[in-house]
């Protein structure tokens, strides 16, 4: 395993999203309890859906283990998937909240 194909981009994606909020957008999303509760709910459902997509008995998505840590938890979910999901959902919520702030300012 090198981790270069999946582990590294997944970690970088998370860092970019966090830096984007803290340095550029500054929406305050990370200080909102609603955000963390939502992420907990999203992660709960990710385990169900992703677990089914990646189960090794009949996988729908096939991962090249050369590109990841090979750590799969829970069930057979590559841990990188959680970083991918966190980055994607957080980025969408940031844009959503930023737009809401702007609408409120102009109203």
């Amino acid at each position: 395993m090198t981790g270069l194909g999946y582990t590294l981009p997944a970690v970088v994606a998370v860092l970019i999203v966090i830096a984007w909020e803290l340095r550029v957008l500054r929406t305050g999303l990370f200080r909102q309890p609603a955000y963390w509760i939502s992420m907990a709910i999203v992660f709960g459902f990710q385990i169900l859906v992703d677990g089914w997509l990646t189960k090794l008995s009949a996988p729908i998505v096939l991962y090249n283990e050369h590109h990841s840590t090979g750590i799969r938890f829970p069930w057979d979910i590559p841990v990188e998937d959680f970083l991918f999901g966190f980055a994607m959902v957080t980025a969408v919520l940031l844009l959503w909240v930023r737009r809401g702030d702007r609408e409120r300012e102009s109203a």
């Binding site: 194909g5 999946y6 981009p9 994606a13 909102q32 309890p33 609603a34 955000y35 509760i37 939502s38 709910i41 999203v42 459902f45 859906v49 009949a58 996988p59 729908i60 998505v61 096939l62 991962y63 090249n64 590109h67 990841s68 991918f84 999901g85 994607m88 959902v89 980025a91 969408v92 919520l93 844009l95 959503w96 737009r99 809401g100 609408e103």
Partner: protein, 104 residues
């Protein structure tokens, strides 16, 4: 995927909703989807992951299955609906707490 949409659809009733603010939702979902689709494309081309032909329709744009493209719209929408509903419920709870304090 359809299950996710069905399960989160009732959350639209909370607050100002997500589907009722379609432009705002599109402005949040589409730019992120484009970035992640580009990532997905690189990963498929670079043989980081692939899709089991037994479980996808085989329909897609280039090497990206249509199911995967849907994923980048459906999952963020579900996330937005969850966040919108949670925010609304939390705001409602704190208002109720404040009201109770006033009535005492």
């Amino acid at each position: 995927m359809v299950g996710c949409l069905v399960l989160t659809a009732p959350l639209e009733v909370f607050g100002r909703g997500v589907y009722r603010q379609a432009r705002r939702a599109a402005a949040a979902v589409i730019p992120v989807a484009l970035v992640f689709i580009a990532w997905d494309l690189l990963a498929i081309v670079g043989d980081v992951w692939s899709y089991n032909p037994d479980f996808v329709t085989g329909v897609g744009i280039g090497v990206i299955p249509v199911e995967e493209l849907m994923f980048f719209v459906v999952i963020p929408l579900c996330g937005l609906l969850t966040y919108s509903a949670v925010s609304t419920i939390l705001a409602w709870l704190s208002r109720r707490r404040a009201d109770r304090r006033v009535s005492r």
